[in-house]
């Protein structure tokens, strides 16, 4: 549920609202960042930058354009991709490379919420390869529908419907 009141408070420069929103969104955004950069320290730095941007640019969020979560998601993915392109990252020896969120999830020993963890684990176990790819590109990598269709050589409409099915399955398992 989107906290419209909190967002308004944030836009008015209320630090407590910011902290509440951090509690609500930081872990999921951290998951996105970590899935892209695969480094806890770097992911932390990026997360910090992302939330500082959220604080500093709160006024530029407009609910007509999309969800608040989506807005932070875009900031986080852009910051992470910038990091991947940076010299520092290229020079860094990458020992553990996760191809996508599934690798991350499979390697992870951490689950913040037990009930969700069970659902997500079950989900990963039965996840179809096409779903794995769709979710990775659309959600974790921030590809557009069009880019995803080209990447997976799939009609635009199919991206939409297939992804819908993938997410429905996730919701089913999480609801169990």
């Amino acid at each position: 549920m989107q906290q419209d009141g909190l967002i308004l408070e944030l836009q008015n420069g209320n630090q407590r609202a910011f902290e509440r929103l951090y509690e609500l969104y930081s872990e999921s955004i951290f998951g996105i960042i970590y899935s892209i950069v695969n480094d806890e320290k770097i992911a932390e730095e990026i997360l910090q930058d992302v939330f500082l941007k959220v604080w500093n640019n709160a006024s530029s969020y407009n609910s007509d354009k999309g969800r608040f979560f989506t807005w932070i998601l875009n900031i986080a993915r852009n910051a992470s991709i910038d990091e991947l392109r940076s010299k520092r990252h290229k020079n860094k020896q990458k020992n553990l490379t996760a191809d996508n969120f599934v690798n991350v999830l499979e390697n992870s020993t951490h689950f913040s919420s037990k009930t969700d963890a069970i659902g997500v684990k079950k989900y990963i176990a039965i996840l179809k390869p096409v779903c794995k790819k769709l979710i990775d590109l659309l959600f974790f990598k921030g590809f557009t529908q069009k880019e995803t269709a080209e990447e997976l050589q799939m009609p635009l409409g199919t991206v939409k419907t297939k992804n819908r099915a993938c997410i429905n399955k996730l919701r089913e398992l999480l609801a169990e």
Binding site: E27, F30, S35, E44, Q48, S112, L138, F143, T144, T161
Partner: protein, 265 residues
């Protein structure tokens, strides 16, 4: 619009991802605001996706909030203090203004006090100068008198008190060479206001009075020594009280003092 079909089209998932074009997203936002069931669906998708990505986080980054908070503090300490600083500048400005006025006020008071003091001192100095000048005049006069008294050409004629003022007494020092008569009126009573002493040179046979002058400014003269011209062959001197301005002939009822010139040796 068939809302069920709209929901099942899969556009809402792409909306949450941020995978739609801006125009498409705006359209979904609009529909979402009109249809609560679309909103509910979007929120459920969002929660599911958040759970999925939360599971990808290596740990809960809640500890990071402290350092982020301190950087918000930085931002605020840049943003707020500038406001505060302007306030301080204003406060300091007003305070300085106030102090300046208070200071000016005291300076002005000080200045006025000093000016008053200076004026008082000036007045005193003028008084002292006047006193010195007066004293010098007095000394000068005394010296002159002394010179006159020592002069051998001077005849001293005592004038005795008469009926209106038996206690009165005066002396005429007559310099017959220079035709000057010096009247010492020290022992004459103060004339009443509007009256003046008039000095007469008298011939005794027959009695002919000739005015030789008035003892004007009698009160003001400290020494009460008056210098008058007297070219007459005086046989006696008399002083009468006359109305201001003097009289043609003496009022003998008001003859205060009278004395005859001793025959020349």
């Amino acid at each position: 619009m068939d809302i069920k079909e709209y929901i099942s089209s899969g556009i809402l998932e792409l909306y949450v991802y941020g995978a739609l074009t801006e125009a498409e997203s705006r359209e979904v936002s609009r529909v979402l605001k009109e249809h609560p069931e679309v909103r509910k669906e979007v929120e459920e998708i969002e929660i599911a996706l958040q759970k999925l990505s939360t599971a990808s986080a290596p740990y809960n980054p809640e500890a990071l909030l402290t350092s982020i908070r301190s950087k918000l503090g930085d931002k605020k300490s840049i943003a707020l203090p500038t406001q505060k600083r302007t306030n301080w500048v204003a406060y300091i400005g007003w305070a300085a203004c106030l102090l300046l006025f208070v200071g000016l006020f005291f300076l002005m008071q000080d200045n006025n006090q000093l000016r008053d003091k200076l004026n008082a001192e000036r007045a005193r100095a003028a008084q002292l100068e006047q006193q010195i000048a007066d004293a010098r005049d007095d000394a000068e006069k005394a010296k002159d008198l002394l010179a006159i008294l020592r002069s051998k050409n001077i005849s001293r004629i005592p004038l005795q008190g008469q009926a209106p003022a038996p206690e009165a007494y005066a002396t005429v020092f007559w310099d017959q060479e220079d035709n000057k008569a010096y009247i010492d009126g020290k022992e004459l009573p103060e004339p009443p206001s509007g009256m003046v002493y008039q000095v007469w040179s008298l011939k005794l046979d027959p009695l002919t009075p000739t005015s030789i002058g008035l003892l004007s400014e009698f009160q003001e003269d400290e020494n009460k020594i008056f210098t008058l011209e007297n070219a007459n062959q005086s046989e006696a001197f008399g002083i009468t009280l006359e109305p201001e301005g003097g009289s043609e002939t003496p009022n003998l009822d008001q003859l205060y003092v009278l004395g005859t010139v001793a025959a020349a040796p």
